[in-house]
């Protein structure tokens, strides 16, 4: 009964389910529910405030996505002279992300790898004459990547999924939200299968994985059972969603404060 909340198809269904619930819980629970309904005024105001806050954050996230797309694209389009202004804006974003406790390490690593590859290739073909040009190219690549990294580090996952769900069909929005909700379960499943296979004596311990021959065993022992598990899980979820009339109505209700 508690699982029904996420799959309400329309208001009439909700009323029916509530009636069934009350019947099942008996008189005592009806009293509790009626007491709760009389004390809704403070809850209602806090609910409204949370709803407004949620909407505001969703809009902010939408603006941030558009801003990062524009900023990334402009790294391709601006001239070399204007690149400095773009670098200053990106530096501001970097400081903002750093205040938001984002990890700078991946960005630094990317910058280092890109610089080494591009500058060495330029040096190989043209000598030291065009090293500056190579550095500008690397800077542009970093300016393309940086707004995306800023977006990922400063915006919350559920706000981004809410924005994406605005322009997705309801079935695919359901698929995305279910996948995100099940991500901890899937990760736990990977860990469980891995540990069980290690106990069985499979050669997939970190030290043994240095040898590439053992990678096949990792795939066979961990990935195969996991895919079987996922396919059967998707079958069960689809069946339970369809039993709650998921495909019957085109309009779905969503709980707004995720």
């Amino acid at each position: 009964m508690s699982k029904r909340v996420c799959l309400k198809s329309d208001d009439s269904d909700v009323n029916n389910l509530d009636i069934t619930m009350n019947k099942n819980l008996g008189k005592k629970s009806i009293n509790t529910l009626s007491n709760a309904s009389t004390n809704t005024s403070p809850n209602a105001s806090s609910y409204k405030a949370r709803l407004t806050e949620s909407k505001r954050k969703r809009w902010l996230c939408g603006v941030a996505i558009i801003f990062s797309i524009v900023l990334s694209s402009s790294a391709f389009l601006v001239t070399t002279e204007q690149l400095g202004y773009l670098a200053v804006i990106n530096l501001g974003l970097m400081i903002h992300a750093w205040i938001c406790k984002a990890r700078l390490k991946p960005l630094v690593k990317l910058f280092a790898i890109q610089s080494v590859i591009t500058v060495s290739l330029y040096a190989l073909f043209y000598g030291s004459e065009r090293v500056l040009e190579a550095l500008i190219v690397v800077l542009r690549i970093i300016l393309v990547m940086l707004p995306s990294w800023w977006l990922a580090s400063t915006q919350k996952a559920h706000h981004m999924s809410q924005v994406l769900c605005l322009f997705l069909p309801s079935k695919w929005a359901f698929v995305i939200t279910t996948s995100i909700k099940l991500l901890p379960f899937i990760t736990q499943e990977v860990r469980d299968i891995y540990h069980i296979q290690c106990l069985r004596g499979a050669r997939i311990m970190p030290k043994e994985l240095i040898n590439p021959i053992n990678w096949i065993e990792l795939v066979r022992c961990v990935l195969f059972p996991l895919l079987i598990q996922l396919l059967s899980l998707s079958k069960h979820i689809a069946k339970s969603a369809q039993q709650r009339h998921f495909d019957k109505h085109s309009k779905h209700t969503h709980w707004p404060l995720s």
Partner: protein, 181 residues
């Protein structure tokens, strides 16, 4: 798109995309090999194709993977990650339209994996050309990434027929006819 895939298939594609993102985030920056992500990309895209047996499943998986990576901030995140995952999938699906039943599943998977890795490398090629990199240097980088990505992609593609057989043995695959009944 709405009517083509059953909810069961759609959820499986979604889970494959999630698993791809989860594994990619687990082994982030640990290998240090260019193109290792093509192993996972080709493996999961082709498993989606094998399990649903439909054109379009790989593109959907690619789009979902890109969106999930964008939402969860994997691989530097952002809107450009969507292109990185969707482009190989789109190329693979386009080629699949022309060679739907031409070869055995193994050879079809290998060919699709090669196409996918070329499309994957061409994304960074175009990006490098747009930022003004010398065409010769950009082409060499493109060639190197397609070869490295191609090796990993073929390795992933070779596993797909075995996985499909295993899923079939567990009676988890529904054919299109059965799905539409």
């Amino acid at each position: 798109m709405k009517q083509g895939f059953t909810l069961h298939n759609a959820l499986f594609i979604g889970f494959c995309a999630t698993l791809l993102v989860a594994i990619k985030s687990m082994m982030r920056m640990k290998l240090g090999l260019t193109g290792h992500s093509m192993f996972l990309i080709s493996l999961f895209y082709l498993v989606c194709y094998g399990a649903t047996n439909k054109v379009g499943s790989m593109t959907l998986c690619g789009l979902l993977t890109g969106m999930l990576a964008m939402i969860l901030g994997v691989g530097k995140g952002g809107p450009f990650i969507l292109l990185k995952f969707a482009l190989p999938a789109l190329a693979m699906d386009l080629v699949l339209i022309f060679m739907a039943n031409m070869f055995t599943l193994r050879w079809r998977c290998i060919l699709l994996a090669i196409i996918g890795s070329i499309a994957w490398a061409s994304k960074s090629w175009i990006q490098n050309l747009l930022v003004g990199m010398d065409p010769q240097v950009a082409f060499i980088q493109f060639g190197l990434s397609s070869v490295k990505g191609g090796v990993f992609a073929i390795a992933g593609a070779l596993l797909v027929p075995v996985i499909i057989n295993r899923l079939d043995a567990h009676d988890l695959l529904t054919t299109n006819k059965a799905a539409h009944k």
